[in-house]
């Protein structure tokens, strides 16, 4: 058990390090930029923007550090950027091995296909946890460094609640990975799909008749800005994400089980 996860994790260490450092540097830039701003002026600009746009970028109390981080980092980078990243990374997991003929050898192991899939998926927990822990810590440190304060519990909660969301994105990528024969196809489909889902949720939010469509998007169930501002969130949303994640993972196992390699 978990031999494959161990091996795959060892292969993800380098990429995870680069990604974590990169995201941390971006956070540093955003926090430093906040220290240069005149918050009230920015608040005025935000008020002049259309509500749909404010919604899409999670802009709320943009003049406070919580609102600023929620809009600039958590809604944009975390929700959209990392959502796409995890869907993209997991899209290569199965399709890449099939395309490069590695799957032939892996399936000669005395290991079931569903176990192999879950073990490979589990290796994505390395970047998932590393990013949340390191970037969360870095953000907190930097906020204190520019003389602002943020509730550490709210910050931790924003990270914690992002995990089910990112798992759903990764599971979407895994389903695509199992369906495709080439990793490039699965990867492009994953990027496109997450982006479209995010767009649908942002654009449709304003139109009441079509509001139900936004329920299809995982982005609908994770709203980091309110969590950062006052720690408010819907537990049922998190439950829906966890259920969707498990459902998609089981679906990918079944599809993988049935397909010819």
């Amino acid at each position: 058990m978990l031999e494959t996860t161990r091996y795959e994790i060892s292969r993800r260490v380098r990429g995870t390090t680069i990604l974590t450092v990169g995201v941390s540097l971006y956070v540093a830039f955003i926090v430093w930029y906040f220290s240069l701003l005149d918050p009230s002026a920015y608040e005025q600009i935000a008020e002049s923007l259309p509500p749909a746009m404010l919604d899409a970028f999670g802009m709320q109390s943009i003049g406070s550090i919580e609102g600023w981080l929620g809009g600039q980092i958590y809604t944009f980078l975390w929700l959209l950027g990392l959502g796409i990243y995890f869907a993209y990374a997991s899209a290569a997991v199965i399709a890449g091995d099939i395309e490069s003929d590695r799957m032939d050898l892996l399936l000669s192991f005395p290991v079931s296909r569903s176990q192999l899939l879950v073990e490979k998926f589990a290796a994505l927990l390395l970047p998932l946890i590393a990013l949340n822990v390191v970037v969360g810590g870095v953000t907190y440190g930097l906020v204190l460094a520019i003389g602002e304060t943020i509730d550490p519990m709210h910050l931790a909660l924003a990270h914690l609640l992002s995990i089910p969301y990112l798992l759903v994105c990764a599971a979407i990528g895994t389903v695509l990975s199992v369906l495709a024969d080439r990793s490039a196809v699965a990867e492009r489909a994953a990027i496109g799909l997450i982006f479209v889902l995010w767009l649908v949720e942002s654009a449709v939010g304003a139109a009441e008749d079509f509001a139900w469509i936004q329920n299809l998007s995982p982005t609908h169930y994770y709203a980091p800005t309110p969590v950062l501002i006052d720690g408010s969130y819907e537990l049922v949303d998190t439950g829906i994400l966890v259920a969707a994640f498990l459902g998609l993972l089981v679906a990918s196992q079944v599809l993988f089980q049935r397909r010819d390699i």
Binding site: E3, T4, R6, Y7, S10, R11, D97, S100, D101, R102, M103, D104, L105, L107, S108, F109, P110, V111, S112, R113, Q257, D260, I261
Partner: protein
Amino acid sequence: MSSITVDNLSKRYDDVVAVDSLSFSVERGEIFGFLGPNGAGKTTTIRTLLGLIAPSAGTATVLGADVHDEDALIEAKRRIGYLPANLGFNDEATGAEVLDYHESVKGGSRRDELLEIFTPPVERPIREYSTGNKRMLGIVQAFMHDPELVIMDEPTSGLDPLKQEEFNEFARNERDRGKTLFFSSHVLSEVRRVCDRVGVLREGVLVGLEDVDTLLRQGGKRVHIQTTDEARTDLTEIDGVIDVQTFAEGIQFIYTGEYNTLLRELATHDVREIEISEPPLEDIFMRYYGSDGGVEPNQEVQSDA
């Protein structure tokens, strides 16, 4: 008990039939060569045996496990080694890292011993490997857990002749230790050196199941001679000369008769250049099994294993 039984196995892709009602069995402790030109369905059969693809009809068992039964097949895979035709490894990993991974999953009691015979540079990343080195790494992983049955798809492709010979000797030793080896090849000369029996596959149909000696007797030799006009006519009249092709400077034919007769005839003519070689496998199939699959499939022959 047979190590592999294939029973009316078929695999269709849309309108293409890759394997058509294939039946044969591989006995414990023999080296079985699965011979056929490229595209004959060898790889499809092998990948079905490992459960990578599901048969469209019929079935097969490996070490008693039905390929439709995933649990039984997983249990059997502990005692099976597999060397695919196209070896995929993570390019940035070193050979040692890959072997560590394989060892952690399936065991590696013979790893060190194998690395003395087959010598891929295990400390280097696989992206720097030549085809031969990759093949050797593949051979090591296929045998490292000391499996009862090893299934190999074109095992010596990419190996230099010296390593090929070492592999052949290694294969015979494994057979003598009681292991069963099943391997596919499109090279007759390779199969004749190591195999006890061969199954010949053409266009997805098993056209012959022979012991190796029979196949070779039927194979004949390809003779290519540069000589004069009248010699060409004389030569075509010898018994056992078939598939004659003449051209400006000489003649080429397949000779299946007695060597001395041919040599005596040649001695009476002016031979400027001669080349005697093994005919391409495709030619043997065409001649002995005809274009419609000819010989009774699955004819049983005595194995000398």
